[in-house]
């Protein structure tokens, strides 16, 4: 069965190369084909994992368990959706100025990014986990500053610098952990997380704690948890919409996966690390939603809301229980689909109207009825309305918090959820209803989104309802993934 992880790593890389050398007309097709094959592999892998529990390759160097298979499935699904969306987005009028060279780079780098994401969730080597996670930053940096104008360059510079500096502290953490484990395991085996887990109780206490905190800071910066969130709005707002969707949907989730791995190593010995994570999560929730509530820029509002929503994931992980992990994973999946949908629907409106200012928009629903319905689905799901995915995932996280008797956190989580519903519905109402409030919003250019975009948004909506109404369908893989 090793062929599945090998395929998942090889397919995006091979297609990145093919896209790079292919002729212009063939590229969108290759882009779709590559992400499509990866999706089929990821689905098959998830099915196999439910029975086989574990696939290893290169002597446990690559290890796919329930958690890895779940994350790989999510990455593959969202990448495929983004490929569909981008087939229309990359030919929008405002992108016509982007040269062929840059479009080719976009598609190629996107596939390289998909490879680094798969690599991150499937490696079992603690140092290579760091390498792969840093590689996701590097592969996405030029995609973030794709527009290559002043604002995009500034966002790209800050993105690269902050994430690289932040994650260097995780490198120190990795090295310390490895050095402490090596005397017990030997040089080679001490690199593998599954082996480190067996000797975690024997490591010197201070070293273990210091390395865990360094790892959490490094990965937390990458995840955009408060107070390391400032890169999130800049990068999300200035990147092309496809990139914003993948940033919020996947790139900030993969470090949370890493945090989950690290905590599952350390938490049995240091339960206080869970409390720390819970605290950071609650802080992110409060700060993110407050900043989102005050925002008038549509994409920045969605970005700040992402910082708040990963707070729920962090809080779920911080509870350190089966239910907590389960809720965190469910929320990861929910938020990946929902926020991607919101960015895609909001992004096309902003692109056609040529403004992102919410007060300047208005009356869009008449010209773009389908897009407005998709945005509404996303908004209701983000706000945690029953029948949508956000309800079931937030409920699970809140139940986990209740189980841990963290009553203050429960109250904050419920309150933040109401605040979220308020600001996202207000944004919906201001953008889509009423009369156009500026010449941009009344522009002739605004018409219904092209078919591939609508298809992408429809698939995401389907996913949202699938989780909201039939979460038991995903239970086999979630159940495995919640026991890392």
């Amino acid at each position: 069965m090793e062929v599945l992880p090998i395929g998942l790593l090889a397919v995006p890389l091979v297609f990145a190369g093919l896209v790079w050398i292919a002729r212009q007309e063939a590229r969108p097709f290759l882009f779709l084909l590559g992400t499509g094959i990866a999706l089929l592999l990821a689905i098959y892998q998830a099915i196999i994992i439910v029975q086989a529990r574990e696939i290893t390759w290169l002597g446990e160097e690559i290890l796919v368990d329930g958690l890895s298979a779940f994350m790989a499935l999510l990455i593959a699904f969202l990448s495929f959706i983004c490929a569909i969306y981008s087939s229309a987005y990359l030919t929008l009028p405002h992108l016509k100025e982007a040269s062929e060279e840059r479009l080719r780079m976009f598609q190629s780098l996107f596939l390289v990014l998909e490879f680094t994401l798969f690599w991150t969730v499937m490696t079992n080597n603690i140092v290579l986990l760091w390498v792969a996670l840093e590689a996701t930053t590097l592969a996405s940096a030029l995609l973030v500053s794709f527009y290559w104008n002043k604002r995009a360059l500034e966002a790209g510079y800050k993105y690269l610098l902050l994430l690289t500096v932040g994650i260097t502290s995780a490198l120190f953490g990795c090295v310390l952990l490895y050095a402490a484990a090596a005397p017990h395991l030997g040089d080679e085996p001490a690199l593998l997380m599954t082996n480190i887990k067996t000797v975690i109780d024997k490591l010197p206490e201070h070293i273990a704690l210091i390395s865990a905190v360094l790892l959490l800071i490094g990965f937390g910066t990458k995840a955009g948890l408060a107070p390391f969130h400032p890169w999130i709005p800049d990068a999300h707002a200035e990147a092309p919409t496809v990139m914003s969707a993948i940033l919020s949907g996947i790139i900030i989730k993969v470090p949370l996966y890493a945090i989950m791995r690290i905590l599952s190593l350390f938490a049995p010995r240091f339960p206080e690390l869970g409390t720390l994570m819970l605290g950071i999560g609650i802080f992110s929730m409060l700060l993110g939603s407050l900043l989102a509530f005050l925002q008038e820029d549509l994409k920045r509002l969605l970005a700040y809301s992402s910082a708040a929503q990963i707070g729920y994931v962090a809080a779920g992980i911080g509870v350190i229980s089966y239910l907590g992990y389960y809720g965190a994973l469910l929320h990861i999946a929910h938020h990946a689909l929902t926020k991607a949908l919101l960015f895609m629907a909001g992004g096309i409106v902003a692109a056609l109207a040529n403004t992102r200012q919410i007060p300047a928009l208005g009356g869009i629903a008449r010209k773009m009825p389908a897009t407005s319905i998709f945005f509404l689905i996303g908004a209701l799901s983000l706000g945690g309305v029953p029948l949508f995915s956000g309800f079931i995932s937030k409920l699970t996280v809140i139940l986990a918090l209740t189980q841990a008797r963290a009553w203050a956190s429960v109250a904050i989580a419920v309150g933040v959820s109401l605040l979220t519903l308020a600001y996202i519905l207000r944004a919906f109402q201001q953008v889509f209803w009423g009369e156009p409030r500026s010449s941009e919003a009344a522009s002739e250019n605004i018409k219904e989104a092209p078919l591939p975009m609508l298809l992408a948004m429809a698939l995401l909506s389907l996913g949202i309802f699938a989780i909201g109404l039939g979460v038991q369908f995903f239970d086999p893989i979630l159940d495995l993934a919640a026991r890392p």
């Binding site: 290579l128 390498v131 260097t168 402490a180 201070h206």
Partner: protein, 220 residues
Amino acid sequence: MTAMETIRVLSLALILTSFAAIELRNLRGALWAYMLQALLLVAIIFVFATLHPPLFIWGITALLTKFAIISWLLGQSIHQGEPQEYPPLIELLPSVFIIGLLALATYRLTHTYTTFLAPTKLATQEPFRTNIAVSLTVFLIGLYGILTRRDAIKVVIGLCLMENGAHLSLVSLAPGVRETVLIGIVTDVVIAVWLILYIINEIRRQFGSTDSFRLSELRW
């Protein structure tokens, strides 16, 4: 001179070059200081290699990436713009004071609380103890540079210092780690520096300078 004394002398020189790389206002001068530091780092790794032969490969990797590639990338970028740095937030004199304090603090930390910090028996002994102190100091000087310099090129030099510090700590803490892992780490570092400089070069073209204070369109 024994290996231990050599390492001590080289370590001290490493701190001085880090200081020079951060404090020299002329970017070309700062680049020379950085290059000297990269060579010293390579020299230290080679001295360690006399104790632990597999480290020779590390020395060669460091020579290739830290000295050759990164210096070349920095040089290319510096040649495109003004050689003089934008004045930093903190002047020379307080800087000397702060960096001196940092060095003292890490030295005391690793020498007084050795058993508290060192993950292995070996790391509590010389020359590893001094080596960890130096790597932490270089790391912190780099971070200090990133936080207080206005000029984007200087910020990148600070980042390179941080990476050098982390690299040096690998020599003491994880000499047994295999080459593929090491190559993974340095590849990431080289690509990160290349990408940042690539973006900075375009920033210089569009904004007319590498002053990071002008990057202020994106505020909350």
